[in-house]
């Protein structure tokens, strides 16, 4: 059995009176594709921010790649985030005045060293090889999300973390993005996708359900959606 990349023990997040997360406990194995599903306000983004080293849980322990990250300071979290995690957002969060390839290179720059060839190869992999010189606003939503994925992948993260990656995309683009995720998964990447969409969750091997900040279900998906995108039962 593969080792755990991510372990959460009794993780809780309180914003004053608001209990955004309560006693979340689960593990993610290397190479696993996990979906975290729940309706709006159920605490998905809060959980993703904790896993993604953007924020610290108020209670509980989080281990990433064997290292306890739940008590690290902001500076160390930045280093972990940079070295181990590839983040993908619903809003893309690209730098508007940098070209596509520069948006990828900037991630390389803060990680180690900008390498244009490698950055272009990453764009190639998400089907944007010919759009390297374009600014984000010159790209469609789907292309921007692919660019965001290329940026997330460029430093070979241990964990790919996506928050509603298809939330702003139409169906065709959603399929393209899910295809890319399938490829990454096949190549051995560990993926955690946060989503309110059963369609998106259905692609994952395993689904964790959140409701009002609590984990209500943790189920294996017997029949994940294939790359062809044939409809399948979401494994409830």
């Amino acid at each position: 059995m593969k080792k755990n990349i991510l372990e959460l023990h009794e993780v809780s997040m309180f914003y004053g009176q608001v209990k955004a997360l309560q006693n979340i406990t689960f593990n993610v194995r290397e190479g696993e594709w996990l979906a975290i599903m729940g309706s709006s306000g159920s605490g998905k983004t809060t959980l993703m921010n904790i896993i993604g080293c953007l924020n610290k849980a108020t209670h509980g322990a989080v281990f990433l790649d064997g290292e306890k990250i739940s008590r690290l300071n902001a500076r160390d979290l930045t280093v972990i985030r940079r070295d181990k995690i590839g983040l993908i957002f619903q809003q893309f969060h690209l730098i508007s005045y940098l070209t596509a390839v520069e948006n990828v290179m900037i991630a390389q720059y803060y990680h180690s060293m900008a390498d244009e060839k490698e950055a272009l190869a990453a764009l190639e992999r998400v089907g944007l090889g010919h759009r390297g010189r374009h600014l984000p606003r010159q790209l469609s939503g789907g292309e921007q999300q692919r660019l965001c994925i290329a940026r997330a992948l460029i430093n070979h993260p241990r964990l790919i973390l996506a928050d509603e990656p298809t939330g702003n995309l139409d169906e065709a683009n959603q399929n393209t993005v899910m295809d890319i995720f399938h490829q990454l998964h096949k190549q051995g990447s560990t993926i955690v996708v946060v989503t309110h969409s059963p369609d998106v969750a259905a692609h994952a091997q395993r689904i964790v359900y959140l409701e009002f900040g609590r984990m209500v279900k943790d189920v294996q998906n017997a029949h994940p959606h294939g790359r062809a995108g044939a409809p399948a039962e979401a494994g409830r």
């Binding site: 953007l54 924020n55 930045t78 280093v79 940079r82 070295d83 508007s96 940098l98 803060y110 900008a114």
Partner: protein, 405 residues
């Protein structure tokens, strides 16, 4: 493609907002410009004043009552003026104890001269006793001036051998003086008796309004005195004026005092300039601080993204700091360069405007002033962005990401 570094980020950012960048650079430009100009002009003036004292060689001047200010402006700036006193005073005062040298000069303000579009100061000097102008003339002419000859100051137009028309008489330029930084530079010198005759023969002659009792053939404008070594000049001047003031209706100027007055005026001037550049700096830094603070607010999202992809807080700090530095650098360099150009080109004019003799300070002084203005200008941006930098620390990526939703 260009290499992607944080410098590249910064350049792109600065050029994305040319107006904002320009305003910030202009602020630093103005500050560096003022600082350099003020420092160098101030130094030029005080140097000019000091050399004036040294070059004049006289310790005190006696002039007709009420003309003490006139003679100063004439000496320092060559402002033409005419006033008359009895020549006999210069002969009598020679006998006083403590007086080493005495010479008289005759000032004539011409209204028109072929040499100059502006009125020039004619100065008649007594070749027998002169100790003031001669040192400068000796290097220019080594024989007595002929009747139709003049010696001109360094700023009078015309070559040696050219003629000048003064009071309808054509006079030949026999020599030109070295630059002195004072009124002599715009004066024309000739023998004192000849000057008096020229004046009387001219159209001014009949209308000449000499004080009562003055011999039409023996008047001068000022009497210059050099004291013997180790003489108390104040005491000497007091003694002389007590004895002669009533008879000759005298006023006096102690050269050292004139220089002190000038120095006081100058130190006030340079204090003003420095206060002004200080105020400019504070205001500039304040404006910059506001702009940087607005800039960080405006770029919060961008910075949050950079944080998310792994930029540390100090990396963001470096971006802001370097932007500030780059803006200051261009402003300060341009400011100092422009100031150097202006002070070099308009040095003489500046002295005239400020009522003081001015000599451009030496290259070393200018270099030091340039380095100082550059450094202080350079510091403006980085210092001004320090308060804004604290905002960077408060950029909590995930909060900003939430706000974007």
């Amino acid at each position: 493609m260009k290499k992607l570094t944080s410098w590249a980020l910064i350049r792109q950012n600065l050029s994305r907002k040319p107006v904002r960048t320009g305003i910030l650079a202009v602020i630093v430009f103005l500050f560096s410009f003022t600082l350099y100009c003020g420092t160098v002009i101030g130094q030029g003036l005080s140097q000019g004043t000091r050399t004036t004292a040294e070059r004049l060689g006289a310790d005190a001047l006696f002039v007709p009552y009420g003309y003490d200010a006139k003679v100063q402006s004439s000496l320092l700036r060559g402002e033409p003026s005419s006033f008359y006193m009895d020549r006999r005073f210069s002969e009598e005062v020679r006998q006083e104890k403590g007086v080493e040298k005495v010479t008289a000069q005759l000032f004539i303000a011409t209204l028109k001269a072929s040499c100059c579009t502006l009125p020039v100061q004619l100065i008649g000097i007594d070749p027998e006793t002169d100790f003031v102008v001669r040192p400068w003339m000796a290097s220019a002419i080594d024989r007595p001036m002929r009747d139709d000859e003049v010696v001109v100051g360094s700023k009078i137009v015309g070559q040696v051998g050219d003629t000048l028309t003064l009071f309808g008489k054509e006079l030949t330029i026999a020599a030109r003086l070295e630059p002195t930084g004072m009124g002599f530079d715009t004066s024309v010198f000739l023998e004192i008796d000849r000057a008096r005759r020229l004046l009387l023969a001219s159209e001014l002659g009949p209308r000449l309004n000499l004080p009562a009792g003055l011999d039409r053939n023996a008047f001068v404008s000022s009497t210059l005195i050099k004291a013997a070594p180790a003489t108390d000049i104040k005491e000497l001047v007091n003694r002389i004026s007590q004895k002669y003031a009533a008879a000759y209706n005298l006023d006096f100027v102690v050269v050292a005092g004139m220089i002190t007055d000038m120095a006081a005026k100058l130190s006030f001037f340079s204090r003003c300039i420095h206060v002004f550049s200080g105020v400019l700096w504070v205001l500039g830094a304040l404006v910059m601080a506001l702009v940087f603070s607005a800039l960080i607010r405006e770029r919060k999202k961008e910075f949050a993204v950079l944080r998310i992809i792994g930029a540390s807080r100090s990396a963001l700090g470096r971006i802001v700091m370097r932007e500030a530095l780059l803006v200051s650098l261009s402003g300060a360099f341009a400011g100092v360069a422009a100031a150097m150009l202006v002070t070099t080109l308009f040095n003489a004019y500046i002295g005239a405007v400020l009522d003081a003799p001015s000599l451009e300070p030496g290259p070393l002084y200018r270099l030091a002033a340039a380095a100082g203005a550059l450094l202080l200008g350079l510091m403006t941006g980085p210092l001004a962005c320090l308060p804004a930098m604290r905002k960077l620390g408060r950029i909590d990526a995930y909060i900003i990401m939430r706000e974007e939703l």
